[in-house]
């Protein structure tokens, strides 16, 4: 449970947050750059003043940052240059008090595959390695509420999804609650269960991630993304691809191994999806799904189609011309071709 009242003057606007979230595992905080996301995290962590901060029915408003039983990983958080990678990891493990999760350095090192880096000097790490080490050091503070400010922005999408998968795994296995700030909806859609949308210091929406995301799409502020859950990834040696059977469905897709993650989710951009009323013939891609058109909505020069594929929603953006020529109506069955899963762009 998170309850926060925070009213503070920032450079260009006033951060005005009065919020109570009863239940969350991974809370995403989304908004454009300069919307007050980082300031909100700093207020929760006690680096700036807030009128009221309550976590898990425990009022921490007047506690100093080291007494709040939570950890904040700042944006552009540095590694400590007088210590090597292992020294940095042990720094928080040794010096943070009142631990409430039982993660050990060995567990974190294994989870984030840091073994080859342990004796390296921090100045020689690449941007991606640095962010993994910083995240590991944050985890070893031992707190059960962890705030992350743009934690994986320097990573490529494949590694980023792996790290977000680790966040979900830690939430399930150790009960650690995360609050993650990001300006990437794709990242938050992938891992968060609850989403807070803020802009210019004001809360626009807060609720289940899928609902908030859908609402953001209809307000035209983002390119639509779809998330597909699957089960049973089976490696097809002949193709060198994984066959992914969709959850609650007999339909399947083929994808390259780097897209297959532990949390069994695929993020699909609307530009990856094309549709047709009849089954595509001579189609080289095997990734064709059958779904039912639920809704079609005009957004400026394009149309946003919402398609139900065996209870999972996919968003497809098409031009006005395509929409008019296809003559499809809501309730009809259509075919969706998902591109760029068998090769990486």
């Amino acid at each position: 449970m998170l309850k926060i009242q925070c009213h503070q003057r920032l450079d260009d606007f006033e951060l005005h947050v009065d919020l109570a979230i009863n239940q969350f595992d991974i809370l995403g905080v989304f908004g454009p750059s300069g919307s007050g996301k980082s300031s909100l995290l700093q207020a929760i962590a006690g680096l700036t003043t807030a009128q009221n901060v309550c976590i898990n029915n425990h009022n921490i408003t007047h506690l100093k940052p080291d007494k709040r039983l939570l950890t904040l990983q700042l944006q552009s958080c540095p590694l400590f240059p007088h210590l090597n990678v292992m020294g940095n990891l042990l720094f928080t493990h040794k010096h943070c008090k009142n631990k409430s999760n039982n993660l050990t350095p060995d567990q974190v090192i294994d989870l984030l595959a840091l073994n080859p880096l342990l004796n390296r000097d921090v100045s020689g790490l690449s941007g991606g390695e640095r962010q993994r080490v910083i995240f590991a050091r944050t985890l070893l503070s031992g707190q059960s509420v962890i705030l992350l400010d743009e934690p994986f922005s320097a990573l490529d999408w494949s590694t980023r999804f792996t790290m977000l998968g680790a966040v979900q795994q830690l939430n399930k296995s150790h009960g650690i609650k995360f609050i993650i700030v990001s300006h990437s909806l794709k990242e938050l859609l992938y891992c968060s269960d609850t989403l807070l949308h803020i802009a210019k210091g004001n809360v626009l929406q807060c609720g289940a991630t899928q609902e908030v995301v859908q609402s953001i799409y209809t307000n035209k502020s983002q390119t639509p993304l779809s998330i597909l859950s699957y089960s049973k990834p089976e490696f097809n040696e002949a193709f060198g691809l994984y066959q992914l059977t969709l959850s609650n469905s007999q339909q399947h897709l083929y994808a390259v191994p780097s897209l297959v993650k532990q949390n069994h989710k695929l993020i699909i951009e609307s530009s990856q999806i094309t549709y047709s009323k009849v089954k595509p013939i001579n189609e080289s891609s095997a990734n064709v799904l059958i779904g039912m058109l639920e809704n079609a909505q005009q957004l400026d020069e394009k149309w946003l189609l919402t398609v139900n594929v065996d209870t999972q929603l996919l968003y497809c953006a098409v031009s006005k011309r395509q929409w008019q020529q296809s003559a499809v109506s809501p309730g009809e069955q259509i075919y969706l071709t998902i591109n760029n899963l068998e090769t990486l762009n």
Partner: protein, 228 residues
């Protein structure tokens, strides 16, 4: 080298070492506080600390001499406490040197603390590390290059002290006659051979100090570049 010159040289090194060591002890906590202090008086405090950079050493020497005089309350208090006078004594010269070299020790420490506070300390606060542990295990180890620079600068600057020592300590062999004053003595008595010898030694020591200083500075600069 003359025996009196060796004595002057030893006294100078002793003075420079004691001054730089005491200043480090005073300046580390002072710089720590001042680096994070955000009050309105901050520019005034910084200006006060930097004053010896612009004041003529003879001016400082004159007022310190007045302060150390047995007719002044401070001079009387010191005499009551130790049974000795500060004017024309080695202790008096040490106190004068503390004021004289204060900004040279303070500035590298302030710069070091400011850099550590804005980057590393903020990150450690956010991670939930207590202030004591932050100071012991983060700030102090990261401050090592700045401490080295501060010591080398304080030591080198005290080596070349002349006007202030002459005002406070006069020219007493074995007590207050430092190398710069002994050199002045040789030149005044036209003993250029001894003056050359002493100058050469002073040059060599000063050069060694500056080499060490730049070595420390290079560490700081390289460290910052690597971290960027």
């Amino acid at each position: 080298m003359l025996a009196s010159d060796v004595t002057a040289l030893w006294l100078t090194i002793k003075l420079a070492f004691i001054t730089a060591a005491i200043l480090l002890i005073i300046c580390i906590p002072l710089a720590w506080q001042l680096a994070s202090f955000k009050g309105k008086l901050k520019p005034i405090l910084e200006a006060l600390i930097a004053m010896p950079l612009v004041l003529p050493p003879t001016l400082m020497g004159f007022y310190l001499l007045v302060l150390f005089s047995p007719t002044h309350a401070f001079g009387q208090f010191w005499f009551w406490l130790t049974g000795t006078q500060l004017a024309f004594s080695f202790q008096g010269v040490v106190i004068g040197s503390l004021f004289y070299s204060l900004p040279f020790v303070m500035q590298p420490l302030l710069a070091g603390f400011k850099q550590i506070n804005t980057t590393y300390n903020q990150a450690a606060i956010a991670l939930g590390i207590s202030p004591f542990k932050r100071f012991m295990y983060l700030t102090l180890p990261l401050l090592k290059p700045s401490i080295g620079s501060a010591f080398a600068l304080g030591f080198a600057h005290t080596l070349g002290e002349f006007g202030l020592v002459l005002m406070i300590g006069g020219n007493i062999q074995g007590e207050t006659q430092v190398v710069s004053i002994a050199l002045y003595d040789h030149v005044e008595s036209l003993n250029y051979g001894a003056a050359h010898q002493l100058s050469l030694v002073l040059l060599a020591i000063s050069f060694a100090c500056l080499v060490l200083l730049f070595k420390f500075n290079k560490t700081v600069i390289n460290g910052a570049a690597n971290r960027a």
